[in-house]
């Protein structure tokens, strides 16, 4: 026995098994295209997310607790400065930022110079990483790059005091980026969730296409079995076959995915760069090995999962009631778990359970409802249609569930992206309230500038401005003497610029009260964490003075994690340490140049740090739009993929069913009436799926917004539902139904000259 087994010649077997694809080359092509697209979509989303996350992390690390040395005369630092500072015994580390002609910004550092930073500081942590990786490169490498732009900074540890510096230098905080807040992070997390969903959907589609081919090959497998080929050989062959196909297709898929992500990632990086001066350091991204291996595993599991895991197979072959019972249990457990989950992990488990339950239950539910309706129909054609619907739901389970998931995902992502877009918009509005933003140079007198602007305000229509002083204050915690450090955002005058800020909650006429110094406002984060409400009084220590100040309002911070207090800077005591000072100016009918010219003269400086908020806003809006549009495009692509899979499967299934539609013609219905029945059936099917996708999509939105986000970041976005978009999706799914029926109708249109070829009739399932 053994002898004959080992002698089964591989070549004829391979030829026999491959002959299927020679007869059905389109099937092979469909499978290959499906693998490529699945890989592309998943790699795209994944690559984008991990790259953006990496650059965010790096920039966060890079900005941790740092100060820099600057020249008093405001000129750029050069190597000589480094030398003279080191000679004076000051610990400085060069930080050379270069923007190459192609690619992202790089930072050149000198690891030898960094040792005086000591352990535990942000810089040394960054520098513990090997320097051959981007974005941190060796100083020497950075200096030799052909750069569009390069700038040298000299960083010094916190222990360095102003007194330690030689003449002609001063200290300033070094800030590569203000904190993006967790808005960006949150968006990334949601993108990651999207990536997992895309993977799931594409796996389902892959499986459906593969099983379709397998079903058609069953006869030849049976024949081979009769010829004495052991089933194990056929199975190993299938494994080999799908593995080689996957290998051939996954690699271009990953390549396409990275190409796709480059489009997206560019958008995200530019947004961060333009908005926060966060350089999008060339992220390490992901290698090739991980995505290729992951996709190979997905292809294998999707195609041969039940074959490989024999025990799993029994689960699939459970009787329908037992299976639906199990699915219901999963669904209910998932729903409950999502509600009660104490941590993110459990929420993700819950989502998995709900999707598993919904996916298992959907076709059964459609079939059940169809039968239930059919039993109540007196009209014979309607009854027949509902019975056919039940068959369709069962036969097209995989593509239908994939379509349902894709619809739900598009729904959730659309709601989420729109919410984010809205939030980003309002956030931009808050941070970029004026047209220009001018830093007050160190040593310059802000009061003089304020007086000058006040003088001009009367004569220049449209001129709006306020002066911002930033520093810190102690907030006496209720029942806790130690207190809490909060940021101070002090504004004066409390004019029309600041009054544009939206408030979540406020007393009557809050801005008027703020202007007259009757209280403070706090950000959402502080209010939430300290359970502060409008009308409460805070014991605030500013400089050396303490006082009770009522809370006039709470303003949204869109994820800024630090507690912040907004007050009228005229109420600041003298001892208050101003860490940073700036002017926000909308010049109105005046040229900004004339304002800055006057300020330069006033302050006696050659150059000013000015930020043109209009340009930034334009750029940011454009880039966010691009990012969101691409995110939408990505989900839409998944939907189209799911729709075409359904179309393809529907086509194949229908060709086995066409005879029964022809039977209707034999029984005296016109071709038109039959086509009408077909159309109604297809619309019933896709419309039903869309209806079933709706609650899943809304639930998914709720989970993302109200469960995942609060658990991950401690704050939640507003959840909005968009019925207009539901309508669009409904129209879309009906369009899918329409195209199915048009395609199938063409099969019917062929002359029915020989309806008698009964031997060729298959597909007599019910």
């Amino acid at each position: 026995m053994n002898g004959s087994r080992s002698r089964t010649p591989l070549l004829p077997l391979a030829r026999a098994l491959l002959s299927h694809y020679r007869r059905h080359p389109l099937q092979l092509l469909a499978l290959a295209v499906m693998i490529v697209l699945a890989t592309m979509l998943w790699t795209g989303v994944n690559h984008l997310t991990s790259q953006a996350r990496a650059s965010l992390n790096q920039s966060e690390q890079a900005v941790a607790e740092r100060q820099q040395v600057l020249r008093d005369d405001g000129r750029d630092l050069v190597v000589d400065d480094f030398v003279s500072l080191r000679l004076a015994g000051v610990c400085v580390m060069p930080w050379l930022e270069v923007t190459p002609e192609t690619g992202n910004r790089l930072v050149g550092v000198d690891p030898l110079a960094a040792h005086c930073f000591g352990a535990g500081t942000g810089a040394s942590q960054v520098l513990d990483q090997p320097l051959d990786g981007k974005p941190f490169v060796d100083m020497h490498t950075a200096a030799t790059i052909d750069a569009l732009e390069s700038r040298l900074y000299l960083l010094t540890p916190e222990i360095t005091q102003a007194a330690d510096l030689p003449d002609g230098y001063h200290l300033k905080t070094f800030s590569v980026s203000p904190d993006t807040g967790e808005l960006g992070d949150s968006f990334l997390l949601n993108l990651e969730a999207l990536g997992v969903l895309v993977l799931l959907i594409t796996a389902l589609l892959l499986r459906s296409v593969y099983l379709l081919g397998l079903a058609q090959r069953r006869d030849s497998f049976a024949l081979l079995h009769r010829f004495g080929v052991p089933p194990g050989h056929v199975q190993s062959w299938l494994l080999l076959e799908i593995l080689s196909l996957a290998l051939v297709c996954v690699v271009p898929g990953v390549w396409l995915g990275r190409w796709l992500a480059a489009g997206l990632g560019g958008g995200f990086g530019q947004a961060l760069d333009g908005l926060f001066d966060i350089p999008l350091y060339a992220g390490q991204g992901q290698g090739w090995i991980t995505p290729v291996l992951v996709m190979l595993a997905v292809v294998l599991v999707a195609c041969l999962g039940d074959l490989l895991l024999l025990r799993f197979r029994e689960l699939f072959s459970l009787p329908v009631p037992a299976r639906s019972g199990l699915a219901t249990v999963l669904l209910v457990a998932g729903l409950a778990m999502a509600f009660l989950a104490p941590s993110l992990l459990w929420v993700f488990v819950a989502v998995a359970l709900v999707f598993a339950g919904a996916g298992w239950l959907t076709p059964v539910a459609v079939a059940y409802v169809a039968h239930w309706r059919a039993d109540r129909m007196a009209e014979p054609l309607t009854r027949w249609r509902y019975r056919e619907l039940a068959v369709l739901a069962r036969r097209l389970t995989l593509p239908l569930v994939a379509l349902q998931f894709a619809l739900a995902m598009v729904l959730a992502i659309q709601a989420l992206v729109t919410t984010f877009e809205d939030t980003f918009d309002r956030w931009l509005g808050q941070r970029l309230e004026a047209a220009y933003y001018i830093e007050v140079p160190a040593g310059a007198d802000g009061n003089k500038a304020a007086q000058s602007l006040t003088g001009q305000q009367e004569s220049v229509p449209g001129l709006q401005w306020h002066r911002v002083k930033r520093g810190q204050a102690q907030l006496a915690d209720v029942g806790n003497a130690s207190g809490l450090q909060v940021d101070v955002f002090a504004v004066a005058p409390v004019g029309s610029l600041i009054r544009q800020w939206a408030l979540l909650e406020a007393v009557d006429q809050p801005w008027k009260a703020l202007a007259s110094g009757q209280g403070v406002m706090v950000n959402e984060q502080l209010a939430r964490r300290q359970k502060i409400e409008v009308g409460d009084s805070l014991l605030l220590t500013l400089g050396e003075q303490s006082g009770m100040l009522p809370v006039l309002g709470i303003y949204p911070d869109y994820g800024r994690p630090v507690g912040e207090v907004l007050l009228n800077s005229e109420t600041l005591p003298d001892g208050f340490v101003i860490r940073f000072e700036s002017f926000s100016v909308t010049p109105g009918e005046l040229e900004i140049g004339s304002i800055t010219g006057a300020l330069k003269q006033l302050w006696g400086v050659e150059a000013l740090a000015i930020r043109d908020n209009g340009t930034i806003r334009e750029l940011a809006t454009g880039v966010f739009d691009q990012t969101f549009a691409l995110t939408r495009a990505m989900t839409l692509l998944t939907l189209i993929l799911a729709a075409s899979a359904l179309l393809m499967m529907g086509w194949v299934f229908f060709s086995t069913r066409a005879w029964y539609f022809r039977l209707l013609e034999v029984w005296g219905m016109s071709q038109r009436q039959v086509a009408g029945q077909l159309l109604r059936l297809a619309l019933l099917l896709t419309g039903g799926i869309a209806i079933l996708a709706l609650p899943l999509g809304v639930w998914l939105t709720w989970v993302l917004v109200h469960r995942i986000n609060p658990l991950a970041f401690g704050w939640s976005l507003p959840m909005a539902v968009y019925p207009a978009f539901w309508l669009q999706l409904a129209v879309l799914s009906l369009a899918i139904g329409l195209s199915i029926s048009v395609l199938m109708g063409r099969q019917l249109g062929k002359p029915a000259a020989t309806p008698v070829s009964a031997n060729a009739v298959v597909g007599g399932e019910r």
């Binding site: 009209e379 014979p380 054609l381 009854r383 027949w384 019975r387 056919e388 039940a390 068959v391 005879w659 029964y660 039977l663 013609e665 034999v666 029984w667 005296g668 219905m669 016109s670 071709q671 002359p751 029915a752 000259a753 020989t754 309806p755 008698v756 009964a758 031997n759 009739v761 597909g763 007599g764 399932e765 019910r766």
Partner: protein, 226 residues
Amino acid sequence: MTESLLAVRGLSKQFVSGNETVPVIEKLSFTLDEGQSLALTGRSGSGKSTLLNLLCGLASPDAGTIVLQGLVFEAGSSGARQKAAAWASLRRQQIGVVFQEANLMPALSLLENVQFRAQLAGRDPSKSEDWLARLDIGELAGRYPDQVSGGQRQRAALAMVFAMEPALILADEPTGSLDRHTACEVAGVLFDLQARHGCGLILATHDAELAAACQHHLDLGHLSGL
């Protein structure tokens, strides 16, 4: 003399395959009276199925005339739409067609199939159970086509045809996929009911015995064209 149920005059049909035209039926003429049966024989490919398709309007002839229940169908493209509608209405109510297999909607139970066919023809569906009982498959009424044997399926197909009370039955090898014994039974029921209800029957078959049981006989001869 009563007018015949069906009259066929000079009927021709050819198929075009590639750049070759293959005549399948050439200048065929015959008549069939009400209550009469006609056996169609001939080798495989001789055009039996093609003729049956022509006789129920599922295919259109290249030449000739078909007169069915006083309705005259002339070959030619003029009035194609009206002709199609007239044929459809005839098929719905007057012509019962039985194929070798796959006569039932797989998603409907046997009873639902019979009811469906009766309702399409505008007949009373409540007699459907009777028909199944008369064909000895009354107890299988709730089963689906894939849950019964081939012979039982053909019986159900006959029940459907009789439930629509046709004037003409076209049967294309209705027993072709059954074993000898079952085939005899099914054919017996067919002839019995046809005689009792007085409808016309045209039966295409390879089975000489079955052909002999018919009152008339038409041999389409050898494979034409090749």
